[in-house]
Amino acid sequence: MTAATDRPQSAAKTESSDLILSALGMSMVFGGLVALNNVDLSIERDSITALIGPNGSGKTTFFNCVTGIYKPTRGDVILYPAIDLPSISLKGKPADVITHQGLARTFQNIRLFNNLTVLENVLIGRHTRMKAGLWGALTRNKKTRQEEAEAIEFSFELLVTYGLDSMANELAKNLPYGDQRRLEIVRALATEPKVLLLDEPAAGLNISETSALRDLISNIRENEKVSILLIEHDMSLVMTVSKKIYVFDYGRLIAQGPPDEIQRDPKVIKAYLGED
């Protein structure tokens, strides 16, 4: 646990060129409601970035715009897959293409495939990294069988790593709440993401579960080659794991910076606690 809490301080400052994802001028308008107003946000490679703000400030809308669930009214999302690879614009792409490009997300209210087993949930996460089509499914040729076996092996390894393997054949809906949250993260990891977007992973967890989640997030950062963007209301979690924090209020970006700066920022305090 100490390793996790020390890291944000010990990490060296990175150059602005070392970004993995940047959203430029994102706006989302629903009818007359401006849910997101010209937001710029970028995520550094191999870091944990947090997104906070009061309820209704546009955090989840931002997630939905970035992951293609919504089509943003304006703005662009650019992914830098690797330093030596050209950047990719994700603007207007459908959700499944964006996932294939390397963004994976979880949902605020858990959205597992309830009537499928834990293993099948993870296998569905592998979908985008597999190739078998109709012909392969019907003939079950050697290539398909091999791909299937590899996918099962990969999924089992993920389940073992994150301690869910003993329940692999249980239906997802039968899992305890905390395990369901964890399974959703593992399912997202199965897509081999470059950026993992977690939408309130600690919602509904008790103190010890939140503490385990903190370790889980830190471990994911270290085990997998993945950068994390985190929406969270639990400030103790946000302040300890994240390297940089963005604060939204009424669809605008009101502050950004390292945790200790954010804690002292008068605009942030005003957004949360109101004015005297």
Binding site: L116, H127, T128, L205, R264
Partner: protein, 496 residues
């Protein structure tokens, strides 16, 4: 507990059971009053009034109602007991995997292969030991098994409610009928063509419904079914409501089975098969088709594509977020589901040798849907059993003559009340995994954190993180205030 069983309490309990039964009796009597008391004699235009049948009706309804309530009570009691067990901290041991059902026991046993061979042998022998009527029922039954399994792909696996499935059956049947009538094409050429036409029509229907789901999808597919029937009814080429007759039954490598082979059997071997030989042949064709369907549907369901369908059924948003192309998944589900209806349609046309649009009414779609729902959504053995029940039961109930459909309906209502998951519940394939590093080892995460994940025994000092778990504004404010209250170097030693 003992104080609950005083005389007045028991009286109240009994009354609470009897009251709804009495109400039901009163209601039924009121509803049935004109039906049961008035009898009209149309010849001399008189009517008579008699209350004689009302007491029987009342007595019967009351007894049935009490029995009905007893079973409902028993069922809810079982549900409650289970829930109490769970809430009392007696969790089911999730690591053991799902509970075995009789089906998983049978399919998992070492005699599975022998069992399947015996079953197959029985199916092969069956037409030779039964009469022409039974063979016809068997063929119909197997056609409905194919239809049920096909619709199961759309409704049970992919979760797309299709109320116009009979249209694809009609398209298959008419493909064969028309091609045979106008171009003299044989059954064997038309079988794949019928399947293909239905697939293409499935794709055609798929495009407009990509954005729809649930009720809206049901309405569109329902309309599609009706449009297809009306088109068939009004086109000249299909001969309208008079339909197409003299459809050629399938031949055996160009041999007319009702000609020479039957003559040979009767004249030279002295054996009278007692039925059309081609019917037995069709039986074997549809049997082979059913086996092919089972294999294909099972393989599809446990493939990358099938999992995409299942994911789409479970959660349309999450499935896209997992990288599944929803458009493609929907289209393939519609198209592939329709293929089986097309194939079954070709076989149907060759069995009946006469088709008209009346054979493909909305009731047919509902019948196939009932097979899927009654059998168990997404369950292959369930759908097979459902098809057998739905097609064979009305035949078996002929003993009850005019009440047979009434009884059939009542059985379906009972079934859905007491077993909503279907005759055979869908079960998922179990994958076992042997860890390479042995079972006793800690998982990577445990090794890293020193404690089993999620069940960390020592919670961090509670006073330091009051904002946990709450997503309400209150919780946030508290959490942030707490974060703000910390010294500037904030993110240090949470649990130190």
């Amino acid at each position: 507990m003992s104080s609950n069983f005083t005389a007045s309490n028991i009286g109240r309990l009994v009354w609470s059971e009897i009251k709804p039964a009495l109400l039901a009796t009163f209601w039924i009597c009121l509803l049935a009053f004109p039906l049961m008391t008035l009898s009209i004699n149309p010849t001399n235009q008189t009517y008579s009034f008699s209350m004689a049948r009302i007491p029987y009706l009342a007595g019967g309804t009351f007894a049935l109602s009490i029995i009905w309530r007893f079973f409902l009570k028993r069922r809810s009691f079982q549900v409650i007991t289970k829930a109490v067990h769970q809430s009392e901290g007696l969790p089911e041991d999730l690591t053991k995997g799902p509970k075995p059902t009789w089906l998983t026991v049978v399919m998992g046993s070492k005699y599975r292969r022998q069992g399947l061979i015996v079953l197959l042998a029985l199916m092969v022998v069956l037409p030779f030991i039964s009469n022409p009527y039974s063979v016809n029922v068997l063929i119909t039954c197997l056609i409905y098994v194919t239809l049920g399994l096909g619709l199961n792909v759309v409704v049970g696996v992919s979760g797309l409610l299709n109320l116009g499935y009979i249209a694809f059956y009609a398209i298959g049947a008419y493909t064969y009928a028309l091609l045979n009538h106008y171009f003299g094409l044989s059954f064997w050429i038309c079988l794949p063509l019928g399947g293909l036409t239905a697939t293409l029509m499935g794709l055609l229907l798929g495009f407009p419904v990509i954005r729809l789901s649930g009720d809206y999808l049901a309405i569109v597919t329902l309309s599609f079914g009706e449009i297809t029937r009306l088109v068939l009814n009004n086109l000249n080429i299909t001969n309208g409501p008079r339909g197409i007759s003299y459809i050629k039954p399938p031949g055996f490598f160009g041999l007319d089975l009702n000609g020479a082979p039957k003559d040979f059997l009767v004249n030279y071997l002295g054996v009278d098969p007692g039925m059309d030989v081609f019917k037995v042949f069709i039986y074997f064709i549809i049997l082979a088709l059913v086996i092919l369907t089972i294999v294909c549907v099972f393989r599809l369901e446990n493939s990358r594509l099938g999992r995409a369908w299942l994911a789409m059924r479970e959660d349309e948003v999450a499935c896209q977020a997992m990288g599944i192309n929803r458009t493609r998944a929907k289209l393939t589900a519609f198209a592939l589901g329709s293929t089986w209806a097309g194939l079954a349609g070709v076989v149907f046309a060759s069995q009946i040798t006469f088709i008209n649009p009346a054979s493909f009414s909305f009731l047919g779609s509902i019948l196939i849907l009932s097979i899927v729902v009654l059998g168990g959504m997404g369950s292959i053995p369930g759908v097979i059993l459902g098809a057998i029940v739905i097609t064979a039961l009305p035949e078996q109930l002929r003993f009850f003559s005019q009440y047979r459909m009434l009884l059939f309906g009542a059985l379906m209502v009972l079934m859905m009340v007491f077993r909503p998951e279907g005759l055979i519940k869908s079960t998922r394939v179990v994958h076992m995994h042997t860890l390479k590093n042995g079972n006793g080892n800690k998982t990577k995460l445990e090794a890293l954190t020193g404690a089993p994940p999620e069940r960390a025994s020592s919670p961090p000092a509670a006073s330091q993180s009051p904002g946990q778990a709450n997503s309400q504004a209150n919780g946030q404010a508290n959490g942030l205030a707490n974060g703000l209250a910390k010294p500037p170097q904030g993110p240090t030693g949470e649990s130190s």
